[in-house]
Subunit: 214 residues, 2 copies
Amino acid sequence: MTVATQRIAAHLRSAILGGHIAPGERVRQEDVAQELGASRLPVREALQMLAAEGMIEHEPNKGARVPWLSMREVDVMYKMREQLEPLALSESMPFLTPGDLLRLEEIQDEIEAGVEVEQFLALDREFHLRTYSACGIDHLTSTVTRLWNSTQYYRRAFMHISGPSRRWVVNAEHRLLMDALGRRDEIDAGRFLAGHIRRTRIELNRHPEVFGED
Amino acid sequence: MTVATQRIAAHLRSAILGGHIAPGERVRQEDVAQELGASRLPVREALQMLAAEGMIEHEPNKGARVPWLSMREVDVMYKMREQLEPLALSESMPFLTPGDLLRLEEIQDEIEAGVEVEQFLALDREFHLRTYSACGIDHLTSTVTRLWNSTQYYRRAFMHISGPSRRWVVNAEHRLLMDALGRRDEIDAGRFLAGHIRRTRIELNRHPEVFGED
DNA sequence: GCACCTCCTATTGGATCCAATCCAACCTAC
DNA sequence: GTAGGTTGGATTGGATCCAATAGGAGGTGC
């Protein structure tokens, strides 16, 4: 199965991450199959994968749709990130190469050059996930990636309503983190990262309108 | 898809958890289909789900097999549990009913009555997962469940080689945890739980033979 | 006019069939 | 005797077909 299935799953993932499929929206097998020039079978398998990843939910005989998340759900998912990402970072840090750090620098430079929301989301995501990727533990990186994937929609909504000061804070925190990484200071890096996530979570809680809960 | 697929996925999960399919062992679609009286199609979808859960791995054109985990992988997965389960407990605690606590008591009584390894594994698993189930956050409970599922084989091997003193320690720690839960003492409960997991992890690291790494 | 029931269509779920790939055994050439 | 190529069986991957279910449109009775 895998070759076509993986391709389709990747396509659907990026369509959801890119906001082309919004929460609540239904995903019909036939549509996806035609769009990608495949039969419904590998589409069904891809949907099964995404369901296991939490990116879509599947009701018997009613099909697949992107799930809505409540504010509490997202809040707890940020708490999970706050617990897991410092661990991922400390497991990854010993294996980060100077080349990796250089790449982080490039990404951050690009962010600070001033980009639109959509590209900011992609770059911010790449920045963080890249710092974890060297850890080599699949269960860990995939769990963290899942948390990023499932909350992307709400992160986007948040970026759209928050002003430029939000960006400045993020940039400063990224620089602090990179500095600690360069010094190989595991303690500082973990502290900055946890604080970065925690502050974002608290900020999010001030905006229930992101979740349609005002 | 869902009705048959879920049934088959559940069957495969319990077969792996029960040790009837060991790491490295191949899972052929046809065999499973015949055993459960279904066609290969829902089996393929179930395998796709389990692959996304990390319980099997899938190589294109070569089929599915239960993956081996290295000692480091399991070590990091225990570190993940150490971070996540106290969170799950604190999110769940406000919603735990007296009936839930009573059920925990029953499970622990049964464990202490003296059970075989296989039943101990099942009861221990139910004990802990039940303390989290009230939190109502799917992403959290399913992540924790995944970590338990994927490490079950190694937990079994460990229980087989460790003596009865190991059981006494676990029992004492469970009682401490239950006591804290009864007092609604979130701090103590989290502390006991984290320590429980951490000590188990350290103990595991003393037995590389569990992973075929001596 | 409103509620309920029936039928019809759109969509998903499952089975069978055929093609592509892999792996191992065997055969040939040197 | 060994290395390398070749062929055949086993298994997975993909497409098409048919069955089952959901949900809405339309009709009928009161």
